[in-house]
Amino acid sequence: MMYTLMIVGMALITVFIKAAIFMLGDRAAFPIWLKEALAFVPVTVLTAIIVPMVLAPHGKGLELTWRNPQLIAAIAAVVVCATTRRQLLTIMVGLAVFFAWQFGVLGK
């Protein structure tokens, strides 16, 4: 029930954002600074979400060790993406390294 309410709220917020300008037309004014600021939102949100997940996968302290599969696989994914710029390949290599490290190297 709570999750259904959450989704309905998300849908209303998103539809409002997407349709407001088309519906209101030129009556919706856009300050230039907001335009510039929005360009930085995706990169900041996604980075802010993944950094704690990678550095502290168990939600406790920093795990900067080779025994942290999230960290090793994330580094591999960053390298692949930076060198090839191919999204699907990045995801596949990242997952492959993650599982290989989890089961092959650490033997969990």
């Binding site: 998300m10 539809v15 954002i17 995706p42 993944i50 950094v51 599969p69 999230q70 995801i91 997952l95």
Partner: protein, 247 residues
């Protein structure tokens, strides 16, 4: 008036819009599958995952909501994150507005709902190439509906996949989300302001990770955006000064 075109012309515009979105459809597929599988591993029911794809239809905010819900985040924080992450669609709408402002309200609402990063890219290219056309909105509808149907299909496949392999959740499906986000973020880091914004946001998120209500996430977004804006303005000033000294 939008209805001065023959049904045949409308249909060919509609299918051209869908066809020109094909690379985008392929690109969105793995994200849909991973989203569906994440739902199966998280606290939401499968039907709620499909309902989210049907009603919200904004990939990255759906990912974030599932991640936050799994971490028992409050509903208001999730709504706030949805708002911040999806705000960029306003820019897209503002850019495309001149080409849809003549349409009836129901058309404008429908096209607004169907607006995504991918359809924006397709439509922006279309209008730059063709300018104002009588069938443009049919092309827009073709692209939007193709993306919509595609997202529903791959969400469903991900849900089925996640239900079939429940052990996936212990296999660190959350890493699929990390890998997905890395694939989105890294290509943007080749510009210095973006790189600085990401580093600031990441550092801020790390040091404030124990704050309640995901306030650390909100602070990280603010810090990252502020740093990015500051650096891009400083770069602009510097290049203006260089031009001035050459003159």
């Amino acid at each position: 008036m939008p209805h001065l075109s023959s049904p045949a012309k409308r249909f060919s515009s509609f299918s051209a819009g869908a066809r020109d979105s094909l690379p985008m459809l392929v690109g969105a597929a793995p994200f849909g599958v991973i989203f569906g599988a994440l739902i199966a591993a998280g606290p939401l029911a499968a039907w709620q995952g499909q309902f989210m794809s049907l009603s919200v239809f904004a990939g990255s905010s759906q990912f974030i909501a599932v991640g936050l819900a799994a971490a028992q985040t409050g509903i208001l924080v999730i709504w706030m994150a949805t708002f911040i992450v999806n705000l960029r669609h306003m820019l897209y709408a503002a850019t495309l507005l001149p080409h849809v402002s003549h349409l009836p309200a129901r058309w404008r609402f429908l096209l607004g709902f169907l607006l995504t990063d991918e359809t924006f890219a397709v439509m922006n290219a279309y209008y730059l190439k063709h300018g104002h056309t009588p069938q443009g909105h049919w092309y827009f509808l073709g692209s939007g509906l193709a993306m919509y149907g595609n997202w529903q299909l791959w969400t469903l496949i991900g849900l089925v996949f996640g239900e079939a392999f429940p052990q996936l959740q212990t296999l660190g499906l959350d890493f699929a989300m990390v890998a997905t986000f890395i694939a989105i973020v890294v290509p943007q880091l080749f510009r210095f302001p973006q790189l600085a914004a990401a580093i600031s946001a990441g550092a801020c998120a790390w040091f404030l990770r124990d704050l309640p209500y995901k306030l650390g996430l909100m602070a990280a977004i603010l810090a990252g955006v502020a740093v990015g804006l500051g650096i891009s303005h400083w770069q602009a000033l510097r290049s203006a000064a260089k031009k001035g000294s050459k003159a």
